[in-house]
């Protein structure tokens, strides 16, 4: 699903974000990326959908050489990925339904298919009854669920989440993680950067720890391994 070999990133200002990363993630895996702030987690995440280019190395997503993609091809890579952020990134002037449908409109999906699929994923994240509400009327947890619905509406092969529970309380975070578990169980690969010790420890999934741009730990059933920041 994801293969990285010899990936390094040095930013133009000289700061080194990642050093010689070798990594293989198999289809259907659930992987946590952990590490202190500034360790290179965000850079790692952004490379997966070609927002950041590595200075050296190779990245393959589902067998496709990401670095060889032209600018025109990048959108088609992103259509296979579901991307989720800590701050939800919803459109405040659109309803829950429209926020999710938006992801299908922009890839020019047929209207009928869009309607059916959006209602399905809204049901999946438990927001079917709130379809006509606006994001501001909803709690943080509900907003993140909209973002998850939007990320999976196009049936991605891999969901990439950058601190998805960073703004949520522990109870809500657990709800969110249940949704992610459900998505993973349906066969979708999940790569999640997080600072949430409780979640990582409770899930017992593969944990990759990055420190100073280097992978220092990669355990099949890992733990968070740092002091909780919550």
């Amino acid at each position: 699903m994801l293969l990285m070999s010899g990936v390094s990133k040095t930013y133009r200002n000289g700061s080194v974000a990642l050093k010689n990363i070798d990594l293989h993630i198999k289809p259907g895996e659930f992987v946590f990326i952990v590490g202190p702030s500034g360790a290179g987690k965000s850079t790692f995440i952004k490379m997966l959908f070609k927002e950041v280019l590595p200075t050296t190395g190779k990245i393959y997503v589902d067998g496709v050489d990401v670095l060889a993609l032209t600018d025109k091809e990048v959108p088609f890579l992103r259509r296979q990925l579901g991307i989720i952020f800590q701050d939800y990134r919803l459109l405040p002037d659109r309803t829950v339904y429209d926020n999710v449908a938006f992801a299908m409109q922009v890839i020019e999906a047929p209207a009928v298919k869009t309607r059916r699929r959006v209602m399905t994923v809204l049901e999946l994240v438990g927001l079917k009854n709130r379809a006509n509400a606006y994001p501001a009327e909803l709690s943080g947890g509900e907003q993140q669920r909209i973002a998850i619905a939007r990320a999976i509406v196009n049936d991605p092969i891999m969901v990439i989440a950058d601190e998805p529970t960073g703004n949520l309380d522990p109870e809500t975070s657990k709800d969110i993680m249940r949704i992610f578990t459900g998505i993973n169980e349906s066969g979708t690969t999940i790569v999640m950067a997080t600072h949430d010790k409780e979640i990582v420890d409770a899930m017992g999934k593969r944990v990759i720890a990055i420190e100073n741009g280097v992978i220092v730990r990669d355990d099949a059933k890992g733990v968070y391994g740092y002091e909780s920041e919550h």
Partner: protein, 295 residues
């Protein structure tokens, strides 16, 4: 491109124009004003060209005789004129005929001449046609010197002057229009920049969910084109109305002045303005998108 996508683009375009009313209005007004100036210049250049061409085809010298010339002098002059090299025909126009002609030109206004009573101020004249326009300037002074001839007039000088004038007008018009086009472009670039800025969040999300660059660009491009088109439309409406009114009043007072009729002149001008307006709109958006929308 599917129907729902087209609908989406159109909806987004109008939503954006509505959200950005003041700048949209400013853009439309600037485009309208610039194209109005261009349209006026086009009307003027086409018409002066028309007048010049009309005069140029008059390959003739009008020989006006003095009122004191006797019948014999007139006969002798006619004979002399006919023998001049290059002259193809000589036509007599009596004083009465000249008056009649003028009345015809005035048409329904001919009662204007009633004040003259039985007076006829028009001189006896000959219309001398020549085989080539080049001969005219050489023949005219010779004819002017003949006995009994008051004056020999020909259109060439007027034509040359008019052509010179059109040239200047055309050049000045192009310069002015270029300046105005720059101003228009600038304001459209700014309008679209504001739109892009207002929607940067949407654009970011679109990129994350895999919208193609063109999908992101289309609504902005359409917005610019729509603003340009609307401005052009306003300009054409004004020009059509005003030119129609001018023609009417010219026909009423200066019946014989050779102005071009509205058809097909206004059609050419309308098409030109609308094409230019829309193109400026598209160009403005493109510049703005390249500069402010990193997709």
């Amino acid at each position: 491109m599917s129907l729902s996508t087209k609908e989406y683009f159109v909806r987004e375009t109008f939503k954006s124009i509505k959200r950005n009313q003041l700048m949209s209005l400013a853009s439309v007004s600037t485009v309208a004003l610039s194209l109005l100036v261009l349209g006026i210049f086009m009307v003027m250049v086409f018409n002066t060209n028309h007048v010049a061409k009309f005069l140029e085809t008059q390959v003739q010298i009008s020989v006006y005789m003095s009122d004191s010339a006797s019948a014999e002098t007139l006969k002798a002059t006619e004979k002399t004129l006919k023998e001049l090299p290059g002259v193809t025909s000589v036509k007599n126009i009596t004083k009465d005929e000249a008056l009649e002609r003028f009345k015809d030109r005035l048409g329904s206004q001919s009662n204007l001449l009633d004040f003259m009573g039985d007076e006829n101020p028009f001189p006896y004249s000959f219309e001398v046609h020549v085989d080539k326009p080049e001969r005219i300037s050489e023949l005219a002074p010779k004819i002017d010197d003949l006995a009994g001839v008051e004056t020999a007039k020909f259109g060439q000088e007027v034509v040359e002057n008019i052509f010179k004038l059109t040239k200047i007008m055309r050049l000045g018009g192009i310069l002015l229009v270029l300046l105005l086009a720059m101003a228009t472009l600038f304001i459209i670039v700014n309008t679209i920049r504001i739109t892009v800025f207002a929607r940067r969040r949407e654009v970011t999300i679109m990129k994350y969910v895999g919208a193609t660059d063109w999908f992101i660009r289309w609504p902005f491009l359409l917005e610019g084109m729509f603003l340009g088109f609307t401005g052009a439309l306003v300009a054409t409406i004004i020009i059509n109305q005003v030119y129609g009114a001018i023609l009417n009043s010219v026909h009423a007072t200066l019946a014989f002045f050779p102005l071009l009729p509205t058809w097909p002149l206004l059609l050419y001008i309308d098409i030109t303005l609308i094409v230019i307006g829309t193109a400026i709109g598209a160009a403005g958006s493109s510049i703005s998108l390249r500069k402010f929308l990193k997709v």
